[in-house]
Symmetry: C2
Subunit: 318 residues, 2 copies
Amino acid sequence: MLYLSKKDIFNLVSFDELIDSIELAFRIYEQKSFQMPDRIHLHYRENTFLYMPCFTEDIIGTKVLTVFPKNTDKNVPVIQGLMLLNDVETGKPIALIDGASLTAFRTGAVGGVGIKHTAKEDCQSVGLVGAGVQGFYQLLFAAKVRDIKKIYIYDIFEDKLISFKEKLLEKLTDVEINIVNNTRELVEKSEIIITTTTSEKPVLPDDEKLLKGKHFIGIGSYKPNMREFPEALFKLLDEVYIDTDFAAEESGDLVIPLEKNWIKREQIKTFGKLLKDNDIKSDTTLFKSVGMALFDLVVANVIYSKAAEKGVGQKIIL
Amino acid sequence: MLYLSKKDIFNLVSFDELIDSIELAFRIYEQKSFQMPDRIHLHYRENTFLYMPCFTEDIIGTKVLTVFPKNTDKNVPVIQGLMLLNDVETGKPIALIDGASLTAFRTGAVGGVGIKHTAKEDCQSVGLVGAGVQGFYQLLFAAKVRDIKKIYIYDIFEDKLISFKEKLLEKLTDVEINIVNNTRELVEKSEIIITTTTSEKPVLPDDEKLLKGKHFIGIGSYKPNMREFPEALFKLLDEVYIDTDFAAEESGDLVIPLEKNWIKREQIKTFGKLLKDNDIKSDTTLFKSVGMALFDLVVANVIYSKAAEKGVGQKIIL
């Protein structure tokens, strides 16, 4: 069995390969050639255990994550875990991959794919609301799929922004990175806006004029009580793109607009379908992702295949 | 993170320590100082994925097993998997333990604890119906808790018995091991009878006189349609001991006797309660185990603690 760390992942796969893997996962999703049981959440004290199994014709595995919110006080990542890949013929464990890094990479790649297919080709600016690990990878992938010259960042915890900017400058040396004081300024200056918060109320101004013509990528809201986008946005949209059908039941950014009739169910379209039809309707766009185990499985398989081919990773004798 | 193989487990913990761990698990079970969500079964083709999470005050973890029935054709173990232990404070993965060996060891130890507390002190003979991996460990532990001089083995697949006997003789050098032709002979000659089959009908003769005064350990039946024990046995019992309350819903050896009114629910008692009260009622006894994640967790923790202390195991850099 192989163990593959964050560093191994970085060395093994390029951002382009990760983007390709996510596009492949979207195609598998549309073809329905997979089995993905509901993700399993278990609660222990204030913490959560998350089991995300998925099986395709060729790949089977499970991501097991822990979410320990108090880890922030201890300077330990809140999300930790492992992706386990099993041999499709015998079930034998064949690889373990660092779950936190896999999650960050694949979520970044999902956002990147969203931008690649919904944002205008010539976009040069991107704004990020929520300066955490997910936001960091979102920006790296944004800069991969568009020729980004300017980044605007905002977080309600201002003190996070300095070090976030410094870390980002190490990876994106040619980009101008600006800290802004509020999300109005952020939206004004950005063509693409990515949100990665756990907010329970909209983080952007409820102002149609401000939001018009922009491209929104929603990563944060993954529970029905979480919301990042205001009512005004939905008035500007012909369609909303989602990564998986259950996003419409899981995310408050879809649950609430549907309840309040700001959008209708038939306006919500899976991203895989958009990839196939390639028929963006409006100049304002929203791609909302809640993530799914199929992304982890497909990306993990690419990482593992390259590791096996190149002899990379820690070998564990079972 | 540490990886601990079958060999590591063998070298790290004694049978006595495994028996102590299972007794500890039974006490934790009675005190209800744990959380054990229902085990999760997922089906993929003809195969099963099994997730068994459990959390106590001090230990948290999950056993992930695959059951691939066609592996027998490939000479690969049907059950494979990993036990993952997480740090109780942060969720960080701290150990992975070979899941198949852990299962075999702990199930053997559960049977051993059953014999230790239900069988007469001076028993010297044990019969096993079902010559598989679980049966093998059952006999090793039986020989640990009683001064066993004679073993009788039976399997419907007779060709398994020769190599089973040879393997067993390597571990139990002082014991006489006999292959018998039927289970009537096996019960006649044995004081303790262990069953580890997946049979859907009783594997022992329905004969009160034959069964009277013997000690039965049921390991096999773990689904409502599986049964190993005949009606006659239940007429001889004042009480049935079970490892967990849900055994009464999961095992056909309890579900069917309850339905048919051969026993009443109030005659079924958890083994942890027996350990506390120490009040065996009849000279014929039955201990029925279906297993639970709490056993895996407690045993895994003992293995891990000893490994960490002695510097044993493969170190994985996360």
